[in-house]
């Protein structure tokens, strides 16, 4: 499985360059976002994930984590974790791309606060 924490960390560093000095990174929120990344990673079957991208939105500074995959399933043993994750995110988007391929995007609140 792709190490999504590494990719998200790179995206945060790029965001830092872009948003500072007006905005300052909340380090505690960043660490917690990494916990969410680990939790999301554990919900996906690595065989189903074709690609992963992360983005810090230039306009609203939200963090978007996008998975291209063919199938996503949460069963009873994982639904509590998934539900808790849902409560921490701003939105969830699913888009059809082609036969046997879709994109699932999880959007989390900004990590940056006005300095």
């Amino acid at each position: 499985m792709i190490d999504i924490v590494d990719i998200v960390n790179e995206v945060i560093e790029i965001g830092n360059d872009e948003f500072s000095p007006v905005y300052k990174l909340n380090e505690k929120s960043k660490d917690i976002l990494f916990q969410y990344c680990k939790a999301i990673e554990s919900l996906f079957d690595e065989n189903d994930v074709k690609s992963f991208t992360a983005e810090a939105d230039e306009d609203d500074m939200t963090i978007k984590l996008s998975f291209e995959c063919s199938y996503f399933r949460v069963d009873n043993s994982q639904k509590l974790k998934a539900a808790k994750l849902c409560q921490r995110m701003l939105s969830l988007k699913v888009v059809w791309l082609e036969d046997e391929l879709m994109e699932i995007t999880f959007t989390f609140p900004p990590l940056w606060e006005r300095a």
């Binding site: 909340n26 505690k28 929120s29 917690i32 976002l33 916990q35 969410y36 680990k38 939790a39 554990s42 063919s70 199938y71 996503f72 399933r73 949460v74 069963d75 009873n76 043993s77 994982q78 639904k79 509590l80 974790k81 998934a82 539900a83 808790k84 994750l85 849902c86 409560q87 921490r88 995110m89 701003l90 939105s91 969830l92 988007k93 699913v94 888009v95 059809w96 791309l97 082609e98 036969d99 046997e100 391929l101 879709m102 699932i104 989390f108 609140p109 900004p110 990590l111 606060e113």
Partner: protein, 138 residues
């Protein structure tokens, strides 16, 4: 706003060996499965209410979204399970607390792309119908 969303997250979960559990379960029910499948069933009111509540919440979540179709089945033939299906070219959900509540009411969720340009989101509800006079024991 961040403090509301970024709170320490317990990443532990109840892990089971699904294959082993599944094999053991199939072995256990195999002799009775046909009898179970053919047995007359009655709707499990509590579980059907869960399904109805979840469907109402989902219709509220998607009420302003175009090209979204929501269907439900309270008692699928043989399995006695219920389901809610959402189909759309794309589906964006922003009422995440409500969505989390639906997930908790259900027995799980499956999301997959179909061959007709739509994605499908299925929520499963076990035990919406129960067989009458199904006796346990040996």
């Amino acid at each position: 706003m961040n403090e509301d969303y970024y709170e320490e997250f317990d990443n532990t979960t109840f892990e089971v060996d699904e294959d082993a559990e599944s094999d053991a379960f199939l072995e256990l029910i195999a002799p009775d499965f046909l009898k179970y499948a053919d047995a007359p069933k009655i709707l499990n009111k509590e579980r059907v209410m869960d399904l109805a509540t979840a469907e109402k919440a989902l219709r509220e979540i998607f009420k302003d979204v175009k090209n979204v179709k929501i269907t439900s089945e309270a008692n699928e033939e043989i399995s006695g399970t219920g389901s809610i299906s959402i189909t759309a070219p794309e589906a964006e959900i922003s009422r995440m607390f409500t969505f989390a509540g639906v997930l908790l009411l259900s027995d799980g969720i499956e999301i997959f792309p179909r061959t007709d340009g739509l994605v499908q989101i299925d929520f499963g509800f076990y035990d919406t119908a129960l067989p009458i006079n199904l006796k346990g024991g040996n």
